[in-house]
């Protein structure tokens, strides 16, 4: 078990955005966290990655209690993430976006960086090589000198994933990776996620688009901050509660 969440609760004022949520993510797979808009999915991500601390509950990652830790500490422990909105460094080029995200592995000390030591130069050369490799992997190597803000929406989302991959995560959280994409871009993204997973990265994907189910090997469905059901995609698809949450009735 790579990630374990137990009794996770978050109140914003009097409103429970997430309440008594339990689920876990197994190593190596692709898990989905789905639910209609406003179900609290992004809040769960923000709780896992330390953007804000939970009101109660625990998040355990790889055997370490990470509840309430700062985002950069959690990134260092091996959880990468993408964002639904503003997913990148807008004024950096595509290549700079990825290279800036190589902040942790390898990590250069301030003194090494400032005095341009051999270690630093070696690290930077390695980072450049790796960045190009990642851009090739996600199919963005042709636009590497473009400013990120000038990219089309689908490319920006892919760049978000590339950026997160640069942190060499054990677990990668994707926040609505296919929202607002056209069918070609969706196919492209899903293929890339699968390819990356085969290289040993575990995924947890938040989506309200049910198309993502095809990719997942386990799905947790939440609504109003509470778990409705969890299981295999085909089971979830038939679940009455899920259909009700999505289509009303």
């Amino acid at each position: 078990m790579l990630l374990e969440i137990s009794g996770l609760t978050k109140y914003f004022g009097g409103l429970a955005a997430v309440s008594q949520l339990d689920f876990h993510v197994n190593k190596g797979g692709i898990s989905g966290l789905i639910g209609p808009n406003g179900a609290g999915k992004t809040t769960v991500f923000n709780l896992i990655t330390g953007v804000f601390p939970p009101t109660t509950g625990r998040v355990t990652f790889d055997g370490i209690d990470v509840t309430g830790k700062k985002p950069h500490v959690i990134a260092e422990l091996g959880i990468g993430r993408t964002f639904q909105l503003n997913p990148l460094f807008a004024d950096f080029t595509v290549l700079e976006n990825v290279s800036a995200s190589f902040h942790l592995r390898p990590k250069s000390s301030w003194l090494d960086a400032y005095f341009n030591t051999a270690t630093y130069r070696r690290n930077e050369a390695y980072i450049l090589e790796q960045s190009l490799e990642i851009l090739q992997l996600v199919g963005l190597d042709k636009v590497k000198y473009e400013l990120a803000k000038n990219l089309p929406h689908g490319y920006q989302k892919m760049l978000g994933i590339a950026r997160a991959l640069a942190t060499k995560p054990k677990l990668l959280l994707l926040d609505e990776p296919i929202a607002g994409m056209n069918p070609d871009e969706i196919a492209f993204t899903l293929k890339n996620i699968r390819k990356t997973q085969q290289q040993g990265v575990t995924f947890l994907i938040v989506e309200h688009n049910m198309q993502i189910l095809d990719l997942c090997d386990r799905v947790v469905v939440i609504n109003f901050g509470q778990k409705i059901t969890e299981g295999l995609p085909q089971e979830v698809r038939k679940n009455k509660e899920v259909i009700k949450a999505y289509f009303g009735g």
Binding site: T49, V51, K70, P71, H72, A75, E76, G80, R81, F83, N86, P87, L88, F89, A90, D91, F92, L95, E96, S99, A100, S101, H103, L104, S108, W110, A113, Y114, N116, Y120, E124, A125, I127, L128, E129, S131, L132, R163, A164, A166, T167
Partner: protein
């Protein structure tokens, strides 16, 4: 193996390093042609303020807008002046101490300030600056209070003209700018710029936002404190009103007019706004209006600031040539 053009950190598109070298050589030879002490004085003051403006930009690239930057110049100046005057230490030593005191106070406020953003940061830093000025005015015994601090030990007691000072400040500015340049164009500077663009994304890739913001504040404060201290031992008197909020706003004005997006921008902006009014003496009273007008023009016509001007002119020129060839 690695293509040189692929350097991922350097984005020195506007001004090449060779241009800086050429500029330093020209400035080194300048006293051969300009002998007037008045002009040497203008250049010395310009050098001091170039350090101040460039160090301001070092903080700004991390997304912080410190409206107390001139106050830190004052901290450096007063710390160095008071220590050397009261304890009789060499100004060369106290100058460094002045920079370090400014750094220390910068780090102290840096951590609580790291939680603030945008307007909140600006307001809190502004009133911090006002508070610092109050401290200068209250401790009259050491700072001279309202009537100013006088009798500050000279940096170069043997100097009989402004010329040695000119070379000292030229050297100091070159060293400071080299140090700040290196700071910006390595991974640290990149992390700072990443934080400014999106602190959420930056921390999600493991950049420690608070530590980097404090670091940029510490570095910026050190150099502005050092510049202030050097100025104190050249000017020999200090008045705390020279470090008020308006002084900080002028630093921002220099940076914005020159182009805050590039390293060369604040240098060009400071130089232009110091030298031009001197060329046209009559303009001096109108400097605030003139600066505002220039800023307007820059904002609307030159998005990259004055440093972008050559590029812009080249663009107009090619456009013009295209039209001429079309017409013929």
């Amino acid at each position: 193996m690695i293509d040189k053009h692929l350097s991922t950190i350097d984005r020195r598109r506007l001004v090449k390093p060779s241009a800086y070298g050429g500029l330093v050589i020209i400035l080194f030879l300048l006293p051969l042609f300009i002998k007037s002490p008045y002009w040497l004085h203008i250049f010395i003051i310009t050098f001091v303020f170039i350090i101040a403006t460039v160090s301001l930009r070092t903080i700004v690239i991390s997304g912080q807008f410190p409206l107390a930057h001139a106050a830190f110049m004052g901290i450096g100046a007063y710390a160095s002046a008071v220590i050397s005057k009261e304890l009789g230490w060499s100004p060369w030593l106290t100058m460094l101490l002045g920079g370090l005191v400014a750094t220390g106070i910068g780090v102290l406020i840096g951590y609580p300030f790291a939680r603030l953003r945008a307007l909140y940061y600006a307001m809190v830093s502004l009133f911090f600056g006002v508070g610092i000025l109050q401290v200068f005015s209250v401790f009259q015994k050491w700072t001279g209070g309202y009537s100013g601090l006088m009798g500050i030990p000279r940096l170069l007691p043997a100097a009989t003209s402004k010329l040695p000072y000119y070379y000292f400040f030229l050297g100091l500015t070159t060293i400071c700018l080299l140090a700040l340049y290196r700071f910006e164009f390595c991974r640290i500077g990149m992390a700072l710029k990443a934080i400014a663009q999106s602190h959420q994304v930056a921390s999600s890739v493991g950049i420690n936002e608070a530590r980097h913001r404090v670091l940029s504040l510490a570095v910026g404060c050190f150099f502005v404190g050092l510049a202030g201290a050097a100025y104190a031992h050249y000017n020999l008197t200090l008045s705390y009103t020279s470090f008020d909020m308006l002084a900080t706003l002028w630093l921002f004005m220099y940076a914005l007019i020159g182009g805050i997006g590039s390293f060369a921008g604040p240098i060009v902006g400071t130089a232009v706004l110091f030298i031009i009014p001197e060329l046209f003496r009559g303009l001096k009273e109108f400097l605030p209006y003139l600066s505002a007008a220039i800023l307007f023009i820059v904002v609307f016509a030159m998005p990259q600031g004055l440093v972008g001007l050559p590029q812009l002119v080249r663009l107009w020129f090619t456009e013009l040539r295209k039209r001429v060839t079309h017409a013929s």
